[in-house]
Subunit: 202 residues, 2 copies
C-alpha cells in the first residue's frame, strides 16, 4: 500500500496540533510538527535554535535584496522554508504520517494519497481552549495572541504558496473543531483516513 | 433525544444533492430539497409551478420599489424565501432531517444539533459527474451551466443572509466530494452525524 499523508493547517487555538498528534497515534503513523525544524537543521547545518525564530514566518518582503544573505533574516526564512519543503517531500515518499502546518498541503498537492485538512473554530471556542490548556485568564491577551499568530501563519502561507490560507479550494476537508470537540474531530478524521486507505487498496 | 438537522450547501455538480439523499436514507431521517417548494406552496397558497421559477434565485435588487408587489418578480422571490424559511423552522422543530440549500444553515444557525455542511469539488470532477449522470458530452456547455447555477446560488445566499456563500466561518464541515467520492462522502457524513448524536445524548 502506498503511504497516506494527512496535512493539517490550523487556526491557533483550534486544537489542530493535538488533533493531529492523537490522529497519528490512532493510525499508528508518524507525527511531524516542530520536529520539522530539527530535521531542517540537520539537513542545512544551521542550528535548530537559529531556525526556530524563522518557523512559519514569511521572509520580510521589504528586506533589501542588497543585504548579504548570511546576515539577512528574510533569507534565513526562505532557507528554512526550502529545507522544510525538501524534508516534507522526503518524509512523504518514505512513510505514512500527519504533518502540521508549514504549507505541507501545498508542497504535497500532487501527492496521490494526501488528505489536506484545515481545522478552525470561532474565537470564543479558541479562547476557551487556550485558557484551559495554558491556565491563562486574560481573554483580551489570548485574543491578541490568536490574531497575531494566525496573521503570521496566513502571511507565511500566502507568501510561499500564492494561495489563500484556509481557502476551501486548497483543502479536501475543513472542520470546525467545536462541532465535535478534540476527540470527536480525531474520530472523524480517523474515519476519513481509513476510507481513503480502503479506496487506495481497492 | 432532540432532532438532528444536517444542512447541505453545495456547488452544482459536486454530488451534494445525492449525497444528502443517501445520507438521510442511511440515518433513517427525512430529506428535503425540491420538496420545500411544495411545502411553501401549500403554506402560501401560491401554486408550486409559479414558485419553481423563484427557487434559490434572489430578488432583483434593481427592481423598482414602485411596482405593485403582486406583479413584481422580486417580491415573489422574497415571498418564497420567507415561506421556505418558516417551513424549514417548522420541520427542524418537528423531526430530524437533511435539508439541501435554501440558506437552511443560516436559518438554523442557532439550532443546537445542526451540522452545517458544504460540499464542493474542482471543475474537472464536477463536469465528469454531470456528464455521467445526465449523459451529456459538451464540456464547455456543462461548465457554463455550472458557473451560472452557482452564480445564482451565491447571489441568493448572499442576498438573504449577508454572508459569503460556502465560507468556512458559516459552516461546520466542508468537504471536497472528489476526496472520497459520493458514497465515501456519505460514509464520512454518517460518521459525523452519529458522533454528534452520541454527544447530544451523553
Amino acid at each position: 500500500m502506498s503511504n497516506i499523508i494527512i496535512t493539517i493547517g490550523r487556526e491557533f487555538g483550534s486544537g489542530g496540533r493535538i488533533i493531529g498528534e492523537k490522529l497519528a497515534a490512532r493510525l499508528g503513523i508518524s507525527f511531524y510538527d516542530k520536529e520539522l525544524i530539527q530535521l531542517a537543521a540537520e539537513k542545512s547545518g544551521i542550528h535548530a535554535d537559529v531556525l526556530k525564530g524563522a518557523d512559519e514566518v514569511a521572509a520580510n518582503p521589504f528586506s533589501s535584496p542588497f543585504v548579504p544573505p548570511s546576515i539577512d533574516q528574510g533569507s534565513l526564512n526562505d532557507k528554512l522554508y526550502k529545507y522544510q519543503r525538501d524534508v516534507i517531500r522526503e518524509i512523504a515518499s518514505r512513510e505514512s504520517c500527519v504533518i502540521v502546518g508549514r504549507c505541507a498541503d501545498y508542497i504535497l498537492k500532487d501527492y496521490p494519497n494526501c488528505i489536506r485538512v484545515f481545522i478552525y473554530a470561532d474565537m470564543e471556542y479558541k479562547v476557551k481552549l487556550i485558557m484551559e490548556r495554558h491556565h491563562l485568564k486574560d481573554t483580551e491577551l489570548i485574543e491578541k495572541i490568536i490574531r497575531r499568530t494566525d496573521k503570521n501563519r496566513r502571511t507565511y502561507y500566502q507568501y510561499y504558496t500564492d494561495h489563500k490560507w484556509g481557502a476551501r479550494e486548497e483543502m479536501d476537508l475543513l472542520i470546525d473543531s467545536s462541532l465535535l470537540g478534540v476527540d470527536g474531530t480525531v474520530d472523524l478524521l480517523e474515519k476519513a483516513a481509513r476510507l481513503k486507505m480502503e479506496q487506495a487498496e481497492a
